[in-house]
């Protein structure tokens, strides 16, 4: 049986992890490679690296990081952040990334999805969508949720699927950082609407939130950052409890 995936997300700036990390057993808390291998050992099913740096050196630093992550860990990982061309993706995949996620660049130029799918295949193209509710309507936002657009979340999701994306990573800006649970109603609607996997993101605070997003939100995977970084939730405990709730997980 296909299992539900647990995905820790690491924010990267200039090749280093950014968010405060509470790992006593880490020699270097800022080293994404070491953190990645710890997560892999603890039972993470996949990892996401989100590059938030904006320097000229960015591409090279990120490619080097991807190379070292691929060299070290034996689970799949996705790289996102500022990817806007076929060349950007080519470099990352050649260095060992399994998937890339695109966000604002796809909204600005939706054909990019088709171009990437034609060159690399659907299986490695994740489209990340940040959205929040405005007057009861889910609207897509850009630049980490700062810039609103007129795009409707559900219409955009359908278009993304039609253009060949292999997966959707949906972050609810209304839930992100609240630790009050995922946007399960919107997630369930998304899952019904598209026939590609949906990754839930934004709002994880407790183990129950994960159970709910798989049961009520119909999510195929759940992504979180701080609850894992600060060891508020340990991945192996989380998966054990999900299993007890009857949710298929890899243990």
């Amino acid at each position: 049986m296909l299992t539900k995936r647990i995905i820790p997300c690491l924010d990267i700036k200039n090749g280093r992890t950014v968010k405060g990390i509470n790992f006593v057993d880490l020699r270097d808390a800022g080293d994404p490679v070491e953190l990645a291998s710890i997560y892999a050992k603890e039972g993470a099913d996949e990892l996401v690296f989100l590059d938030i740096s904006a320097t000229e050196e960015k591409r090279k630093t990120l490619a080097e990081l991807v190379y070292h992550v691929a060299e070290t860990i034996n689970i799949p990982f996705t790289v996102g952040g500022g990817i806007s061309s076929v060349e950007d993706v080519d470099i990352l995949l050649k260095n060992g990334a399994d998937k890339v996620s695109i966000n604002s660049s796809a909204v600005k130029r939706p054909e990019l999805i088709n171009e990437l799918v034609a060159k690399f295949g659907s299986q490695c193209i994740v489209v990340a969508i940040d959205a929040k509710q405005i007057d009861g309507q889910w609207k897509v936002h850009l630049v980490g949720g700062k810039v609103p657009t007129e795009l409707d979340l559900f219409e955009w999701a359908k278009e993304v699927e039609k253009r060949g994306a292999g997966e959707i990573l949906f972050t609810s800006m209304d839930h992100d950082g609240t630790k009050n649970g995922f946007a399960n109603k919107a997630l369930a609607e998304l899952s019904k609407l598209v026939n590609i996997p949906v990754i839930a993101s934004g709002g994880a605070g407790t183990i129950t939130h994960f159970t709910d997003t798989f049961k009520d939100g119909k999510a195929d995977a759940a992504l979180a950052a701080s609850v894992f970084h600060f060891k508020e939730i340990e991945i192996n405990t989380l998966k054990q409890e999900l299993k007890e709730e009857g949710i298929p997980v890899r243990i």
Binding site: M1, L2, T3, K4, R5, A40, D45, E46, Y67, A70, E71, N74, I75, P76, L93, K94, N95, G96, A97, D98, F120, G121, S122, Q123, C124, G166, E167, N195, I196, P197, D220, A221, R250
Partner: protein
């Protein structure tokens, strides 16, 4: 031991190179027929679309080389699918090593299947010491049905072949290089053949 990964411009092979390196071996990437024939082990990777991959194989003559190889050959993901008789993806003929026609999952499930599923009915030296129902990582929209060459099964929409074997030819639908420690053990088993 000389390990050659067949280079025909298909997909990301860096992860396979690293997985082999973690096992203590070096693999070389080659499209040279003699170098491939002289290897102890051959890995036939593949990520992408079936019909365009077959075009690339034909253009380099590798479509004639691969089926005549005598040493253990491991097809991974699309590599395994291309070793079959045909694929519905781009309606292409395959290399015809496995007598199976690759077809697409129905819309009753989400396509592609992405994530960790389980393998059962394991019956080959490739799975020495691998427990039944082990989790492996897959990303695919097309599958090979069950046939006489099936050496591992999995279930998604239908029961399908997670691995195939005919003589010295092996194929796995999953990615051993991304399937954590179980995947490394399966790769090691292949290198032990």
């Amino acid at each position: 031991m000389k390990i050659v990964i067949i280079d025909y411009g298909a997909g990301n092979i860096q992860s396979i190179m690293f997985a082999i390196k973690r096992l203590g071996f070096e693999a070389v990437l080659s499209h040279d027929a003699d170098e491939i024939r002289n290897a102890d082990k051959v890995i036939f990777p593949g990520v992408g679309e079936a019909s365009s991959a077959m075009v690339k194989l034909r253009a380099t003559g590798l479509d004639k080389v691969i089926p005549t190889l005598k040493q253990p050959v491991l097809g991974i993901c699309l590599g395994m699918q291309l070793m079959c008789h045909s694929s519905e993806e781009g309606n292409t003929e395959g290399l015809g090593i496995f007598d199976l026609d690759v077809v697409k999952f129905s819309n009753a499930v989400k396509v592609p299947q992405i994530g960790w599923n389980q393998i059962s009915d394991l019956k080959s030296r490739l799975f020495t010491n691998i427990p039944q129902k082990s989790h492996i990582y897959l990303v695919h929209s097309f599958y090979a049905p069950i046939g006489v060459e099936t050496i591992a099964t999995s279930e998604y929409d239908v029961e399908y072949s997670a691995a195939l074997q005919k003589d010295n030819f092996y194929g796995v639908q999953f990615h051993p290089e991304k399937s954590s420690n179980i995947g490394s053990e399966i790769l090691q088993n292949f290198l032990n053949l």
